[in-house]
Symmetry: C2
Subunit: 234 residues, 2 copies
């Protein structure tokens, strides 16, 4: 029974990669850079998007908002007057705990690729399965909140390993936590040595300028640089 299950999963991932490449072709043709944005529930993805999506000089941002149900985050972002497309995994996708390439493909007719330069795909809040499915992105960013403890890179290594940037959020709470930042950074280096990381607070604005600069740089980098990053990934 186990062997069967593993085979099905591998076939599903193969199909996923095929569709992810098709999505990527569409993004490339429209000259849209795409970021797969991931975290545990409540780590602050939406708040970190709210801080930057309407404030990237010369860059038009769109958001594809993945949730199991509802449109709470999409409503927050739409209030900033950027195009937001809601993608619910409960509607026809069985309440999946992640986005996959086919779900993203099904939403593309509603994403105005011709009118944006950068598409932020906010994945379902989950540190496991979202890391297993490429959706056609150029790169991946994850958010790790200091309230989650220092051990998360060791417990969810694939997520931390497949990201180009780790945003360490809610640093305004550090004075109120028993949290050893050096230990988090050591654990991060254990699973993904020297991965780029930024200390940020969506609430106070600390570190947001660096996050904004990074997004601008990634949106502008050419395909060769992007491929160089991708080729180092598992």
């Amino acid at each position: 029974m186990h062997r069967t299950k593993v085979t099905i999963v591998e076939e599903a991932l193969d199909a996923n990669n095929t569709i992810a490449r098709a999505n990527r072709s569409d993004f490339d043709r429209a000259s849209v850079k795409v970021i797969n944005f991931m975290s545990a529930p409540g780590a602050g993805k939406t708040a970190l998007l709210e801080r930057v999506v309407a404030d990237l000089p010369g860059i038009r941002v769109g958001v594809l908002e993945g949730d199991v149900e509802g449109s709470l985050d999409a409503d927050r972002l739409a209030a900033l007057h950027v195009p937001v497309t809601q993608l619910n995994t409960s509607a026809g996708f069985g309440g999946e705990c992640h986005l996959d390439a086919n779900m993203v493909r099904s939403a593309l007719p509603n994403v105005p690729l011709g009118e944006i330069d950068l598409l932020m795909i906010e994945n379902v809040g989950n540190l496991v399965c979202p890391a297993e499915f490429r959706v056609g992105e150029n790169t991946r960013v994850m958010v790790c909140s200091v309230t989650e403890g220092e051990d998360k890179p060791l417990k969810y290594p694939l997520m931390f390993r497949t990201c180009e940037l780790v945003l360490i959020n809610k640093i305004d709470l550090l004075p109120h936590l028993e949290f050893d930042l050096d230990r988090l950074l050591d654990n991060l280096d254990q699973v993904h040595p020297d991965v780029a990381r930024m200390l940020v607070s969506a609430r106070t604005g600390d570190g947001i300028d660096a996050w904004r600069e990074w997004l601008i740089e990634v949106t502008r980098r050419d395909r060769e640089e992007a491929l160089a990053w991708t080729s180092t990934q598992p």
Copy 2:
């Protein structure tokens, strides 16, 4: 393609329920009550177990510790001299984001059922899939941290709906957050009206006495009471 996928998922869940019933028979025969303990990553499941497992008068506790990888939480709990069994979903289970009945069954030979009264199954940190798979538990408890925001019941309704008790953790941080507790409780009532809830802090010990009392009561209640709860569940 979609229809096929849905059918496979339904068959998997049927098989899961069959195995969950077999697990439950084994637990009943050994007179062990079982709690499926769930939350998002970093909400404080292990810390809330550390507070009580060695301190339940007349009740011998065992822990089955579910993680994708590693044994960090199991090591913390074993230090309290309770029997802890590690179950990694990466070892032969494809890195699953949840425990299912078959995984739990595979671990049962290593759980000393004859020597415990209460088995706490600490699930993988995830608010989606763990709620979809019964593992043979008598009841379900979830932890929701106030650092995750007020919207989580609306975004992950199945998890909140299938629990008998919601522990609202990290209340020591409330003075430092922009967090509306009444709104969380309203959202909770929207998806699971009148579900039992406790305000706790694993760090300061606030509310831990109530959590301990609840565990004692659940361990001692007879089968009819337990069934009465189960029959009201979806």
